[in-house]
Symmetry: C2
Subunit: 209 residues, 2 copies
């Protein structure tokens, strides 16, 4: 399986995985493509096409084996290869992400949080310690941290981003509404909540008030 | 301007808007497509193509007028048409979104929060009151709320979603890692953080540990 999956396909495969997890909890053995399609309000042929990309075929009339398909998705989406990240900014959003237990199931391990607020440093969130941001450069290696999740307020985003780059961070998952100016060897993934929201309202027919 | 903009284009236009806002803060009058492209580490022709969709042309050698282009983007992305929403689940994520001041600039108004925790109901977050979730059905009309942002824990997601639908909510911006089962006249927009993260790691070359 060396085909490149588009971002949209990866997005849908993750949702299929979530549905399969629910089915396993409910101890249901088989699932059909129309069942998946119905839950997501998408077209059945889309589901079949996506799953065919995994070189997996369902059984006539009963559909896909839930456990098999789930494992295959986990393999395709590389859940087994652990990616370690730190959270920078222990405000509400940083705390929410630190508490997001589902991350670990997807191969995503949050090793620590960083903040500049002395009331927060030294505390723990969901078993993860909050360190002073000043210590970051000394700790990136210890935590094997090349991915930083940036959840600081907008006005500090660029300044903190510079500091992350100087500390050896190579990937920034940016939850701030800022476009960060980083060197070419650093990759930024903009979460861009506003963009996601606007896709919803502009393209998917949310009426305004 | 009645062309349909794809989700990817909307996403990029929002990032361009963010860059333009920074330029206005810095009182810079013109911006060129290579400047935008450099900041986003994307191709210059992509930027020019996106902006051409708005029927806007830059001036030779100086580029685009920052203020004009920003207003045009706001018009295209319908920032002026106010969309009211409620937040359901006043945990860390709900609080973070309630405090996200940038939403209002994009035409997105959070009118209230709802939670079932008596320690939270009656309090205020960023000027928005937290109500008991049981009051939702009585308040949807008062708050003109047809959009709900769902930020409850995974295990309550489906149950609360049913309650939202019964209370008249028509659009759910789903931040839980659950696929919600809703009637056909209700639209769900899955924020799917895991899917976004996996796009980053699977397709954009984050090495595993």
């Amino acid at each position: 399986m060396n085909k490149i999956l588009t971002d949209k396909v990866i997005n849908r495969l993750t949702l299929y995985h979530s549905i399969l997890s629910d089915y396993i909890e409910k101890e249901i053995e088989y699932i059909s493509s129309p069942q998946i399609a119905d839950l997501l309000h998408i077209d059945n042929t889309q589901v079949r096409k996506d799953i065919a990309l995994l070189n997996y075929r369902g059984k006539c009339k009963v559909g896909y084996k839930v456990k098999e398909l789930k494992l295959l998705l986990e393999d395709t989406l590389k859940f087994k290869s652990v990616k370690t990240a730190i959270i920078v900014g222990a405000g509400n959003l940083g705390m929410a992400l630190a508490k997001y237990d589902n991350f670990e199931a997807y191969g995503f391990k949050i090793s620590a949080l960083f903040d500049n607020n002395p009331e927060k440093t030294g505390t723990e969130v969901n078993g993860k310690k909050v360190f002073d941001i000043k210590e970051l450069a000394n700790l990136t290696e210890k935590f094997n941290a090349r991915i930083a999740i940036l959840t600081v307020p907008r006005k500090y985003a660029q300044e903190v981003s510079n500091f992350l780059v100087d500390s050896g961070i190579k990937y920034i998952w940016n939850f701030t509404p800022c476009v960060l100016n980083v060197p070419n060897d650093v990759q930024v993934w903009n979460e861009n909540l506003i963009g996601n929201f606007l896709q919803f309202t502009v393209n998917h027919g949310v009426d305004s008030d």
